[in-house]
């Protein structure tokens, strides 16, 4: 017995985020805010917007981590995170009202603002911090996967993508059907070793992260990769002598 769709459809829409090229510019987060503040879950209320403690509802947030390896080398990784539209979404199963639901047709997890009692339990159940309580209206909100954009026939076809995806300047975001192993996003995930966050939580998130790739080193290591002097000594005099016969033309 579960309140997840009893016969979940084959379509699992989700995002794929490439940590190898995300520069941490926050474009996806702000564009998301911008689209959604008048969208399905409008508004994305801000409190104290010009005051001492500004905060607000955001569906997408960018974290920055430093990863330090054994040798003491660090790597800075920008890490965007929004709802992962989990297959076994605990935010849905814990919801006492059914306001939190997963769409059967595409797997998008949404909140019905008319039914939500604002008990916040779903936000406790979500491991990823993807639920956003709007204090002002007393209901839970969250990433809608831009459900009012991706199918919207009132929009230019090129705009029919999640706001965060189409706006990403680095092209670090992808969107598609992760339920179909042959879909383009699935192929990309397979090719790049895309992974899910906190599999131990057993939520089966749909979104995938493409790991930062190993840094390219050409030639491989520091040692012995130097250029060979053109003259044995590599001294100015020798080189100039060598170049005496060289002529150039335009």
């Amino acid at each position: 017995m579960t309140s997840l769709p009893r016969n979940a459809g084959p379509v699992k829409l989700g995002l794929v985020i490439d940590l190898d090229i995300c520069v941490g510019c926050h474009a996806c987060a702000v564009n998301c805010k911008e689209w959604n503040t008048s969208g399905h879950s409008a508004p994305l209320t801000d409190s104290d917007p010009y005051g001492a403690d500004p905060s607000g509802v955001w569906f997408n947030r960018i974290h920055t981590f430093e990863v330090v390896n054994e040798a003491g080398d660090s790597r800075t990784v920008h890490f965007p995170k929004s709802c992962l539209h989990c297959e076994e979404a605990p935010c849905v199963t814990v919801c006492p009202t059914g306001a939190s639901y997963k769409r059967q047709e595409d797997g998008i997890v949404l909140v019905n603002a008319e039914a939500c009692i604002g008990c916040k339990l779903c936000s406790w159940a979500c491991p990823y911090g993807a639920r956003e309580y709007d204090e002002d209206v007393g209901v839970m909100k969250k990433c809608t996967l831009c459900v009012d954009k991706i199918y919207n026939e009132n929009l230019d076809p090129r705009s029919r993508a999640p706001a965060c995806v189409s706006t990403c300047p680095a092209g670090a975001r992808h969107f598609g059907d992760l339920g179909d192993p042959q879909s383009e996003v699935s192929l990309l995930v397979a090719a790049r070793g895309g992974y899910e966050l906190m599999p131990e939580q057993e939520c089966k998130p749909v979104n995938r992260y493409l790991p930062p790739r190993p840094k390219r080193q050409t030639p491989a290591v520091d040692s012995g990769a130097a250029l060979q002097p053109a003259t044995p000594e590599g001294e100015a005099a020798g080189l100039l002598a060598r170049w005496v016969d060289r002529v150039l033309s335009r």
Partner: protein, 1005 residues
């Protein structure tokens, strides 16, 4: 399907809401990148901003700033009516006045000055994009005291490029992202090409064929995704690059053909140590430069394609002097062991082996990974080539280089490296954006040696001196400009020295002024060095007369910035969605390496306040002041329609106006042509921009490409179709040096000779940043620098309701080892102490920073009370502004003179030369920044946040119920689809959610 109450509350979602009554296109202005935007308007409000997918700059993407435009447009900090100061300067006490009164007052003040001594108006503009108008206005007004922000921004890099390769980094060139195999990025956190750089990096890395090296003391943003991070010590790039040059020369890994064809490597330089022409190019009587033809055994014009020119040797001349080719001078200089990797490693902070390896990698990429395009082209001499062969090493640099006082030469060093590798404007290299390449340097000379009442200047105030004769100095060698640009202190100050204007006006050095007029520059805060001092200069009074030392200040801003309370008359501007703007080829266009482009901004919303576009105001004032070219002979204004009228109808020279597209009465011409009354409409129909795609054979080697040069001449960008020969060795610099040595009719005052001699080396040099040198031995062991956050544009971004939620306070980032040395832990509050002062901030430890360096985000810290923010806002109380401790003057030299804290060649402000030490705060000192200035008085906030809540969009939501069956199937979106399709089988080629018909495989070469 009937649902039971026990089912989840799945709604009938309206997947197809009506989101806009109308979508209008214009150009973003949340930063200077000039992306195209689609503005969704609903119920008269802005519903959504998205990138215009057809726009050449951003191709559909929008950055965080651009996306936050809604909050900028509705910001409660917007000014709403002209203001006249009533209290003391700085008090923030104003009364609202009508525009008539404001304009009458302004024209009275300006008119008086123009009738007596127009130089006593200093007109300086900040981050605007209308310099072609403002400069023209200043010229017609007759004051040389005009410049825009370029002088404190990156003029040393612009000048380095324009005096070396006829183009520059900045926003005037770009890497060939699609073909490059090795990309080096020097000192860039964000840059003007905000979206194009991100897009380029994303594509390049996705394709996976290039190595990306970021040279930067800090590892965030772009550096975070680099394959290799060269975390060098600030200010040492030049040394690092010259060590690479040393290695490449030693191994002879240089592109001889490129040097011979496109640079002055073979040009002969006169060797006559005491002579008046020492170091100048050897020329024939016709003035042509010469090379040594080994076949003929004599000098021949360098333009002679049959010459077999020597690269080394010392050639005796018939007049007894000798000459040597540029290359020999260069080789001798950089083969010197002082430039060997092991000699510089410690100073640069990068291991010798790493420097060596980078040199080897560069050589490998340039010479073993040639990119060959099957495109036939014809060179300037008419020779046909059946391929375009490129050295796919590209470079880009910005303020990490320019914000140092050695930036001019460091940037020249990078261009030198590019030239040796043969990687300029070739496939895979760095590419010029139109209208570049230009003559080296570009043509106008600066005007303003003298100024006369009621007379325009003979030319534009800013330009490019060709030698000492072109300096703006009087007979005694004293500066004639207020900011001392083009004086012996800063001879090549091609964009002025905005950061010195307020100081000099206060000091009356070189002379006092009457009116300071500024536009869009927050000089009372984040764009000034020495903020406290600047505020003093702005408020200081002459003890005798009791008048302000800077008598009158007119300022145009759109927001209640920190500068506003320090002006006397405020001319409130519109927001960028409420006005016309022109992004012109005469200024800073939207061109790419693929072709020229320009753009406009059109008003998409009507102002709800009593504000006017500043350009309209300028044109109105020009009419009132009867400035030539703004009025007809009978005094009637020429542009009664204001700025749009001017944009369409003004001609700089016959046929050339602000916009290049749809010229001529029919709108069929581009580049040149008579004004077209319909021009703006045509721009609007085209998404508010115009571009022209160069044909494939024009795309590369533009400096020597016959077809391109002809096109550029036709467009009016270059005077002749002659090729542009890159200058490894700068004769112009040598001219200044000769003057310093006592040659020529214009010579520096004695006190300046040594300085000019030292810094006008015709070949790139490296010297320690000037403050560092001055402080030698003192206890300021750390470098302190700033970075731009990608989501904020200076002070105007960090007031934005959405953006400030991301960063409302800035930390000081410190390496753990450094912190340990100063006894500092994460989250501690510290004093950052410079020789000039101290500022307090909170520490965050990070590994990805050079241990000798601390840094923070730029322009987050705000003045209490400004920007419509609460006086308790974290920006003003816990965030901090590094500018408090940057001095605009260097320590005293012998003789007591204090030079500006600037690059000695170009006057570029040396923001990042700052040296500091850290002192842990004592108990009780934590928790708030210092200096924590008293809050300025500010008008009440307007709109938007009733009850401390901002519910933007609540009433814009489409509340109609869903209609069953509505909607179209979703489309998969692959970011960088084209690049992904190359590496992931099964992913179709195309862009975003649009697939190329046919699909699959890589398209084109």
């Amino acid at each position: 399907m009937v649902r039971s109450v026990l089912d989840t509350g799945q709604e009938a979602v309206n997947t197809c809401p009506e989101v806009a009554d109308e979508i209008k296109q214009t150009t973003c202005y949340m930063c200077a990148c000039r992306c195209g935007i689609n503005v969704y308007l609903k119920d008269g409000k802005v519903r959504y901003l998205e990138g215009n997918p057809d726009h050449p700059v951003n191709q559909g993407v929008l950055c965080a700033k651009g996306s936050a435009g809604i909050m900028q447009h509705y910001s409660p900090a917007r000014l709403s009516k002209p203001l006249l100061r009533t209290g003391e300067r700085g008090s923030g006490e104003f009364k609202e006045i009508e525009w008539d009164e404001a304009l009458a007052l302004a024209s009275e003040w300006l008119g008086e000055v123009r009738q007596t001594d127009p130089r006593r108006l200093a007109f300086f503009t900040g981050r605007d994009q209308s310099q072609s108008l403002t400069g023209w206005w200043a010229m017609q007004y007759g004051t040389p005291n005009f410049a825009a922000h370029g002088g404190f921004c990156s003029v040393n890099m612009a000048a380095a490029g324009l005096y070396s390769i006829g183009g520059s980094f900045w926003e005037f060139g770009e890497p060939d992202w699609d073909h490059t195999r090795y990309f080096m990025l020097f000192g860039v956190a964000e840059d003007h090409d905000s979206n194009p750089i991100k897009a380029g990096l994303g594509r390049m890395k996705t394709k996976g064929q290039a190595k990306f090296v970021s040279v930067n003391p800090v590892k965030t943003g772009y550096s975070a995704i680099a394959d290799e991070w060269i975390g060098l010590r600030p200010g040492t790039d030049g040394l690092f690059v010259l060590a690479l040059v040393h290695e490449l020369l030693k191994a002879e890994k240089i592109d001889w053909d490129f040097l011979g064809r496109y640079t002055n490597a073979t040009w002969l330089v006169i060797d006559d140590p005491e002579g008046p022409e020492d170091g100048l190019f050897l020329r024939n009587p016709e003035g042509a430069t010469l090379c040594w033809d080994t076949a003929r055994g004599e000098p021949v014009p360098t333009a002679d394609v049959t010459a077999k020119a020597a690269v080394v040797g010392r050639f005796a001349l018939s007049d007894g002097r000798a000459a040597v080719p540029v290359f020999e001078l260069l080789a001798k200089r950089y083969l010197d062991p002082v430039y060997a990797p092991e000699a510089v490693a410690e100073r640069v902070g990068i291991p010798t082996a790493t420097i060596r390896r980078i040199a080897a990698e560069l050589a490998e990429a340039a010479f073993e990974k040639e990119v060959v395009l099957d495109v036939a082209w014809t060179d300037w001499a008419g020779r046909k080539h059946d391929k375009m062969i490129g050295r796919p090493v590209s470079m880009h640099a910005m303020r990490g280089i320019s914000a140092h006082s050695n930036g001019f030469h460091s940037c020249r060093a990078i261009h030198l490296l590019q030239m040796l590798l043969g990687s300029i404007d070739c496939p895979g290299g760095f590419g010029y954006k139109a209208p570049f390449p230009k003559l080296i340097p570009p043509s106008p000379l600066p005007a303003g040696k003298t100024a006369a009442p009621e007379r325009p200047l003979p030319g534009m105030p800013l330009g490019f001196p060709l030698g000492p004769d072109d300096l703006l100095v009087d007979a005694e060698g004293r500066p004639t400009r207020l900011d001392k640009a083009y004086s012996w202190e800063f001879p090549l100050a091609a964009h002025g020295l905005m950061h010195m204007v307020i100081h000099n006006a206060w000091a009356g050095d070189p002379y006092p002024i009457d009116v300071l007029m500024m536009y869009m520059a927050n000089m009372g805060w984040n764009s000034s060095m020495n903020v406290q001092g600047t505020l003093k200069y702005l408020t200081d009074k002459d003890p005798e007369t009791g008048d302000y030392k800077i008598p009158k200040i007119i300022y145009s801003d759109a927001y209640y910035s920190e500068m506003v309370p320090y002006a006397d008359l405020i001319l409130p501007d519109t927001t960028y969605l409420e006005r016309w703007d022109c992004i012109s080829l005469l200024d800073r266009p939207i061109s790419s390496a693929h072709g020229p482009g320009d753009a406009i901004r059109q008003p998409v919303c009507a102002p709800d306040r009593d504000v006017r576009p500043f350009q309209d105001v300028l044109i109105d004032l020009a009419g009132r002041l009867q400035l030539p070219t703004f009025v007809y002979l009978d005094g009637e204004p020429k542009y009664p329609g204001g700025y749009p009228d001017y944009i369409a109808n003004h001609e700089r020279t016959p046929g050339i106006g602000p916009l290049a597209g749809w010229r001529g009465p029919e709108g069929k011409q581009q580049g040149t042509g008579a004004p077209n009354p319909d021009q703006l409409q045509r721009y609007i129909e085209n998404g508010c921009f115009w571009t022209h795609k160069l044909s494939p054979d024009q795309l590369y080697f533009k400096h020597a490409n016959k077809s391109y040069l002809a096109f550029a001449k036709k467009m009016g960008w270059i005077p002749t179709e002659e090729p542009i020969v890159m200058q490894l060795y700068s004769e112009i610099l040598q001219k200044f040096r000769l003057a310093a040595r006592g040659h020529g009719k214009v010579q520096p005052p004695d006190g300046e000779r040594a300085r000019v001699e030292a810094y006008f080396d015709p070949l790139p040099i490296w010297y320690p940043p000037m403050e560092e040198e001055a402080l030698d031995g003192e206890d300021f062991s750390l470098h302190a620098i700033t970075q731009r956050p990608m989501h904020m544009y200076h002070s105007w971004g960090s007031q934005n309701a959405w953006l400030r939620q991301i960063t409302a306070r800035n930390r000081l980032y410190v390496h753990p080892e450094t912190a340990a040395r100063f006894g500092i832990a994460d989250d501690d509050w510290v004093w950052v102490v410079s020789p000039h002062g101290r500022v307090k901030g909170q520490v965050r430890l990070m590994h990805g920073v050079n241990p000798s360096t601390v840094w923070t985000w730029n322009a987050i810290g705000k003045r209490r009370g400004a920007w419509g923010l609460d006086p308790e806002a974290p920006e003003s109380n816990r965030g901090f502004l590094l500018n408090h401790i940057i001095s605009e003057l260097l320590p005293e030299r012998e003789g007591g003179h204090r030079y500006s804290n600037s690059d000695p060649v170009t006057g570029q402000a040396a923001w990042y030369d700052l040296r500091v030490r850290l002192e842990r705060c004592r108990p009780g000192e934590e928790g708030a920044t210092d200096p924590l200035m008293e809050a300025v008085k500010a008008p009440p906030r307007r709109g938007l946040d009733e009850g401390g809540k901002l519910r933007y969009g609540a009433e814009l939501k489409d509340r109609r119920a869903a209609v069953a069956g509505q909607g179209t199937p979703f489309q998969e979106w692959i970011g960088n689809r084209h690049e992904v399709s190359v590496t992931v089988p099964g992913v179709a080629d195309g862009k975003g959610n649009v697939k190329k018909p046919g699909g699959g495989g890589e398209g084109g070469a």
